[in-house]
Structure formats: C-alpha cells, structure tokens
Symmetry: C2
Subunit: 336 residues, 2 copies
C-alpha cells in the first residue's frame, strides 16, 4: 500500500508522514500529491490571518471545536504557516500546546509549517499540504498565517473564505494591520472584544472597509452597469458580498457560533454566485504559474553557483554592468 | 555615433527613438541600455500613483512646471504607465495633450508607455526607460501610473519617493484607493482640495496612515528598542519619515510649491538616513530577480507552444493531473 493509499484510508500517521515529505519537497512527497490530486476539490478552505497578538491560534482552535460540536461527521484541519521562521522548533512546540487543547478528537488535525527557502516555495508547499488534507477527507481546512504582510496575502489567496482577525488595545508593540490585507478580507473579526477599545477597532476597520470595498465597484468588475450595480446592491442578492465584522472572545468561546454562521453565509454566496468555481480555477491557475516560474528558477539554480549570482548583483550595484547584461551573462554562462 | 552616445549628448530625437526601442525590447534597445547603465544613479525617481480621476497627470505636469521655474538647470521627465491598456493609441493622444501644456520647454520630456505582454515585462521595460532618462541627465524623473492596484505597487517600487494622490467627491464611479497602496506612500496628496469633502478625504487618509505606519514599529524594523523608538519619534530626527498629507489644486497650481518642499524633505531624509543607498540596492536587486525569472520564462515560452500550456491548465482544473505533474510534463517535454 502506498503512502497516498494509506492517507485516503484515513491513516493519521501516514498523513503526518506525507505532510513532512511535502514540506521537505521530496520525490516521494511529490509523487503522492500527484496521486492524491484527483481526490481534491471538496474542502472549504478558510484563510485565517491578521496582526500578531490578535489571537488567531485561539480563534482557529475554537472554530475547530465548535465546528466539530455542530457536525460530528466533519473532519477539520488547521495548517499554521510561519513565513518568518526558518526553523521548525517553535512550530513543533506550538503544535504540542494546541494538541493539548484539542486532545482526543481524532477528527481534528493540526500541522505547523515553517518557512524554508523562498516565499514562492512556501506557497507551493502549503498548496501541496492543503491538497493532501483535502484528499484525506478534511472538509474544513484552515490556513492560519502568522502576520499580515505581502507573504500572507499570497498564502491567503489559497483560501475560499478569508478571515482577517484584529484585536483592540495591543499597544505600541503590535504591528498595525497592514492596509493591503483588507482587500482580501471576506469576514473581519474583532477578537478579544471584551478589551477596552473594541468599538474603536471595529469603527476603524469599517472605515477602511468602506474605502476598500465600495459596493458598486464590485459590480463594475463583473460587467454590470452603474444602475444595475445600485439595483443589485439594494436587493442584497446573492451576487454581492460585503464583508461583515464579527466580534469574538475566542478564549471564552463567545461569538464563535455566529462567526461560523457568517462563514457558512459566505460559502453559500460563493456557490450561488459562481464565485466558488471561479476562485477554484483562479487558484489552480496561480499555482501553475507559480510552479512554472519556481521550477524553471530551481533548475537554473541547480546549474549555476550562487557565488556567481552574488558577484553579478555586486557588479550591477557598482554600475559596472547593467541588470540585463548581468542576467544574460548568467543565463548564457559567459564568464563575468 | 551610437544611439546611446547621441542620448548622452542630449539629443531629444535620439532619446525618443531609444525609448521606443526599449519599449519594444529590441536588441538595439537592450544594447544601448547596457551601454548607458554606468551613467545612471543620479536622478531622483518620483512615483506618482493614486485613484483614476484624482488628477495625477495634471499634478505631474504642474510639478514639472514648478520644478523648472525653481531650477532652470534641472531637466525633468515624466514616464506615464498604463498597465491596463494593450494599445498605445490613447497614450499617444495623451502625450499630445500634455505636450501642448508644457510646449516649448526643451528641458521637459514626457513619455507614455502602454502595457505589452506581462506585468513583469512592463516593470522591466519601465526600469529600462528610467535608466535611459537618468543617463540622459534628467535629474527628476516622475513615474506616473494610472491606477492603484498591485501592478502599480510593483512599478512604484522603482521610485525613491512615492506620492499617492487622492481627490474628494469623485462619487460612485471612482475606484476607492486600494488600501495596499498606503504602505508604499511617502507623501499623500489630496488633489482638487477645493471640492466639497476634501476634509473628509484627508481625515480618512490620515486614519488609514496611522494604522499603516505606527511610528515605533518603523524603528523596530531598523533594530531600535522600544524606548529608543519613542525617543526618536519625539525628537523628530532624520531617522524617521512619517508620510505627510499635502492638499493641492493642481489645475490652479495651488499647493505645488509646498509639495515640492515635502519631496525635497523626503529626499534629505533618504540621503541622511542612508535609505537612499538602501533603496537603490534593493531596487536593483529586485530588478535582477525579476529579469532572471522573466528571462528564464521567456526562453522557455519560446520553446513550448502556448496551446500545450493551455491544455495543461485545463487538465489540472478537471483534476486529471496535479499542478506539479502538469509543470513537470511541460518542462520535461513529455506529451500530455
């Protein structure tokens, strides 16, 4: 029996082993993903991102717990991504703490992945891990990212529904929410809503949302006229999604069921509007483009020593040769 | 005499011809950029971006006029980028209108560039055009982009100083400012400041700025402790840049001189903080990485028919083969 077959049969140990293979980008891992891919496409992929300190991990854990309470047949997975950490040590410790929290539920699977190599590499690896979990029958897969920078935006693109989590009163130490992340938010969560300043955080998010998502503009993108756009907006029909703001206190389980309802409404919107299929296509197309560039680059890097590349960069910064000349010399293998 | 030599001597016709070569990515154009590159690195590169309808073109024209009035020895160039238009027709018409506005000043050069092919291609072409103008002695080069999406963010990365231009009261037809653009704003401009709602626009921008640029966080990135960060912030020293908001009425020339002062302050900050050299290095490094990926992809596409790629995408969407398998088949030239 292959590793892929064991994963399809629901073997958790095989699943954990395969995810390690995928993370290390081994030939065995790649072969297994190829084998499993035709079984994918059923899971609801939920991105969870936001500022560090906003309580994303607690929120993901509580969502897993409540989903399981609501539907005993649903298998739930959490993939936690840390693009900033080159080591897996912290990630593994994190897993242990979380495992305790959700201990004993064999239908919940949690996996941390740390960054190795390029962002493109991490995005490709994450896509592979999600495909493995999807094939293994996990119907809800959360992709949780640590920060809210450009890298997280790339990874959140993997999801059908993206939650952006904020919290009030985090003080000076907290990175403010990166404005760019709001463009990809389907649902905004104000976590730790019992802290002072929750109202302020919610108002700030709503203000930014209004700038980021003027509703008629959404329709213009879909080819509606201005009058049609306004009519649809007033209808509040299936064709429109305006990101709601949901308050939660994840550690106490407050607001989690309401959040799950909002996620379900977003899923219905995606399916009814045809957006689910569109996001699926667009996600696979992006993954292909990314893999093509990364694979071409990786094969080139196998052939060319890194010292030659660094030397070329130096010559360009000193303005001895142009960027194009440097790349042509490198690709054509001329001596520099 | 080569085209590059003629450009170095200040021949405007040669400059226009060379920019066309660069835009069309001809072998002659590439050779000339290689020849000119050692003469670059002197210009102040000013990105001008923001919502359509915010009056960026008028603002760029007025900036050119006022810069020239303040310093008769300064040569000013405007490169206007339209990533959304595959045709140059509109761009050429735009040039004519602008030329009339700044007619007769031989120290101002305006060039529109429309998108041909990929975004990566346009960013690379724009970089080349800016290098040509830099070598030709244009001390201030504005890179004006049409919209404010991700593509414009990529192009704005080419600049030392980035202006993000907004205007009040544009109604439903206007794309709201993309939240992501604020991350790259060095100076915010509220244009058409005589229109109702200018105050509201300015307040919204300031609110978003506070979320996007909490000052201490800037210092943490530069390795300062929290206490040092607060001290520096209270000092208002050279090590800190908090993006100011400047109101203008470009069509009447109101606020333009104040905007030029803000741009000059930003230039001083860049030089004094060492950020100028850092942005230069980072810009060239990005250009190299981009050129490497684009060149590898271009050489691959020359060898592989597009129909084969499209067929591979289709097979993946139908989940017959995995993305990785599709790419491996394509790169290794196996039949699909």
């Amino acid at each position: 029996m292959t590793l892929a077959d064991a994963v399809l049969e629901g073997n958790r140990l095989a699943l954990a082993r395969l995810l390690t293979q995928v993370e290390n980008n081994t030939p065995e891992g790649r072969a297994a993903v190829n084998e499993l891919f035709p079984h994918t496409g059923k899971a609801h992929l939920l991105g969870v991102t936001g500022s560090p300190g906003s309580g994303k991990s607690s929120l993901a854990n509580q969502l897993a717990r409540h989903y399981r309470q609501q539907d005993a047949s649903l298998k739930v997975a959490i993939v936690a991504i840390d693009p900033s950490s080159p080591f897996t040590g912290g990630a593994i410790l994190g897993d242990r703490v979380r495992m305790r929290d959700l201990a004993g539920d064999s239908s919940v699977f949690i996996r941390s992945m740390a960054s190795r190599g390029s962002l493109g590499g991490l995005a490709a690896t994450t896509a592979g891990a999600v495909q493995v979990l999807d094939a293994a029958g996990y119907g809800l897969i959360m992709i949780e990212t640590v920060g809210a920078g450009q890298s997280e935006v790339e990874i959140a693109r993997l999801a059908h529904t993206t939650l952006v989590v904020e919290a009030p009163g985090l003080g000076d130490d907290i990175q403010a929410i990166k404005a760019g992340i709001l463009e990809i938010a389907d649902i905004l969560v104000v976590n730790k809503a019992d802290l002072p300043g929750a109202e302020l955080t919610e108002r700030a998010l709503l203000g930014m949302l209004q700038l980021a998502h003027p509703a008629p503009h959404v329709f213009y993108h879909h080819g509606f006229s201005k009058d049609e756009a306004i009519a649809i907006q007033e209808d509040g029909s299936d064709q429109l999604w305006l990101p709601p703001v949901q308050r939660c206190i994840a550690t106490e389980g407050v607001g989690i069921d309401e959040l799950i309802q909002a996620i379900q409404r977003h899923r219905d919107y995606l399916v009814n509007s045809g957006e689910w299929a569109r996001r699926d296509r667009s996600r696979l197309q992006s993954e292909l483009d990314l893999l093509l560039r990364e694979t071409l680059l990786a094969r080139w890097q196998e052939r060319v020593p890194e010292a030659r590349y660094r030397k070329a960069v130096q010559l360009v910064i000193q303005r001895q040769i142009s960027p194009l000349q440097a790349i042509q010399n490198l690709i054509d293998g001329d001596s520099l």
